[in-house]
Symmetry: C2
Subunit: 431 residues, 2 copies
């Protein structure tokens, strides 16, 4: 295998066979194929794409670049997993995990850190004092057995080729390539041993996929890879034109996730969490359908068992589940409505960038994160407000940052005289 010939083949619109892709990816993981050849290949893929067969083979090669986990063997149970393509205010996994576990189904999830508006799931969890994200495989298995839920950092030996390739794509303008995204996500899910996966594909202004059509393409590719690998996959296509829930910012989102687990979350987040739980429970070894899954998830929230599981989970990983333990930003500044009207838009990207500017996210991968800061969007699309009502509240490190943040958040809001068309959180399902 000469990498330059594979690059040329892809550049010219040709198709690689599985052996060629395996040689390329494993060679790259072993540092035999240099970064510059991989970067040129990724850019050729940007323009000429990958076929389904190539995407499957690429995913397979990625998985084979490292170790794999077999949670079924370790637990003697079918394990389900949930993943989101990422959006503004997305704390879904933090609520889904303990609810599903409270229903008796183990959910073990490997997660990442965020690069962008706000932190990733790990960053959010680390805003809880004492929380440990680095568990050994033995600790992970024991916690799944004892508590039923664990969210941990991805171990370095799982899919090392993806880690290396993602870092390269990040600095060579080759991130937004659908088959590479699909393969990156699915290789990690498959290597981590999930037998059934619910994927939350975000759609809109604050998501990677801006349109429902684009999201369907990504969802279909991920579903296809899962099917090829013999796993069950459902993709929920969900709205990311406005932030999910109210809270955007790490500690603020943890608190909102806890509220949702105890039945006091915002409507859109609650709906998405329950829908994801329903699908996961239907995939589990409980032998129930999604409707029954939804009933059990609602019951676990209502009877307090989900909250109890949440608290046991946080404690199991060393954290303090009391929301009072979360750090609170020193400055809270309201963002009043400038007029009477109906909220017609809360730009997710704008709110995300405002949170990033406050310090809630990372511009570069080594940037520190300020867990306390962020934004609470009280008014959402379709809400009626009066002049002076609090549209939102900015949580900042100091007054100057609060002032800038409030201006940025205000600019994210559009007020009109007529209510916009109603749109639920769940836009489509690919399964």
């Amino acid at each position: 295998m000469h990498p330059a010939e594979l690059i040329e083949q892809k550049r010219n619109g040709g198709e690689h066979d599985p052996g060629e892709l395996e040689a390329l990816i494993l060679g790259y993981a072993r540092d035999e194929v240099p970064d510059y050849q991989m970067a040129a290949w990724c850019m050729a893929v940007y323009f000429n794409g990958l076929t389904s067969a190539e995407t499957d083979a690429l995913t397979d090669a990625m998985i084979r670049s490292g170790a794999t986990l077999d949670l079924r063997a370790a637990l003697g149970r079918k394990v389900v997993d949930k993943h989101s393509t990422g959006g503004v205010g997305d704390k879904t996994s933090l609520a889904v995990g303990p609810i599903v576990a409270a229903c008796g189904v183990p959910l073990g999830k490997m997660s990442g850190r965020g690069l962008g508006h706000t932190g990733g799931t790990l960053d959010k969890l680390e805003s809880i004092p004492g929380f440990r994200v680095e568990l050994s495989t033995e600790e992970l298995v024991a916690q799944l057995r004892d508590v039923g839920v664990a969210i941990v950092g991805q171990t370095a030996d799982l899919v090392p080729a993806d880690k290396k390739l993602y870092a390269l794509r990040d600095v060579t303008a080759t991130v937004d390539i659908v088959p590479l995204i699909a393969s990156s996500i699915m290789s990690k899910k498959l290597a981590a041993g999930a037998e059934a996966i619910v994927l939350d594909v975000k759609v809109g202004d604050g998501a990677f996929m801006k349109t429902l059509d684009d999201a369907r393409v990504l969802a279909t590719q991920m579903h296809q890879i899962g099917t090829w690998a013999g796993r069950e996959v459902t993709c929920l296509l969900t709205d990311m034109d406005q932030p999910l829930g109210r809270a955007v910012g790490n500690a603020l989102e943890v608190e909102e996730a806890r509220d949702t687990v105890r039945g006091d979350g915002p409507a859109d987040l609650t709906e998405l969490v329950l829908e994801a739980c329903a699908r996961l429970l239907a995939y589990s070894d409980l032998g129930i359908d999604a409707a029954e899954g939804r009933r059990r998830a609602e019951a676990a929230v209502a009877d307090g068992s989900a909250l109890e599981t949440y608290e046991r989970w946080i404690r199991a990983q060393g954290g303090d589940p009391d929301p009072a333990a979360l750090e609170r930003a020193p400055v809270q500044r309201p963002v009043p409505a400038p007029r009477d009207g109906v909220v017609t838009r809360v730009g997710a990207l704008d709110v995300g960038l405002a949170a990033l500017a406050l310090g809630a996210g990372r511009r570069r991968k080594d940037d520190p994160i300020d867990h306390a800061v962020g934004v609470l969007c009280f008014a959402k699309r379709g809400d009626t407000v009066l002049a002076g009502d609090d549209l939102a509240e900015v949580h900042a490190r100091d007054d100057a940052a609060a002032e800038r943040g409030a201006a940025a958040v205000l600019a994210a809001y559009e007020l009109g005289d007529e209510a916009p068309p109603e749109r639920g959180i769940l836009l489509d399902v690919v399964d």
Copy 2:
């Protein structure tokens, strides 16, 4: 300047401003922009191209990555230069240099080594025992003053960004990108101080540009860069569907170049050499037109002054100009015509690959070259032959190589019953 943003800009079909290109190229030359970002950028350029303004700015940045020569200041004369995009059997410069010099016009040329079928001009010259291609700038200037012709290796301090970028493109399937080729060639010519340049753009099977249309695009871009830089440029678009002249192989080509200088060269090579000389003399400070240039070039060949200049030049660079001093391959094997007929095709690429297999060229940049081996194509397109006539002769290191070479050369020939349409060596001119 963030390289990743420039890559994305080009990937999305945007246009860089000159400052951005300068930062990219100078950053790359200083090892501040890594190979992987440059490779991704090159691949984006493959798909989205460069505008004229971008190509000019790129060329300018390439030149500014290193030192430049000012031969006019050093010599007090206008200096002309000649360059070929490369083909099979292309020894034109070896004959043009001494003829132009014999007419009183200095021709100082920096040349390269070959990667491909046969060696580059430097490799051909090094088949002359004792010939030195590494001259200091002082030696170059002195030789141009004393002899009027010098062909030397490019010094490392001229256009270092091009050298680095070319090596990267070679291993990332980004060689065949017209604006990058145009910029690479022109940056070297401009940095070496030529005020007027005759470019021989080869067209056909054995050339980089396969069609006249493609060659016109490259020629037009190089002409445009030259004009932007205030230089005079003429592009001769010449036939490379069959090898140029008869000889393909380093020492064999040197001998044929010498034959041409003394008026005994093959018709196509002689015509191209005289046409190039005519254009160069018309660009010189002699104040004559191309027709008068052609007459003077023919006279220098006829009266022996061109051959005398050739011998003085080779001696000045330490070589022995006697053709008997050239190494001769131990095995010569004829390639007889299998039938009566007219030669309808002598595939330039096939002959080139046969010569490469004999050892006349390089597959990798560190491969050694066998100066003695090669092919003599006695019969050219349109020639009538009888069964058993020698179409060609293979010069090889041993019998086995000669046998394989003869079979490969025979396969390059097509014989028919009707003469193909006549076609001169000069297909078009862009000036």
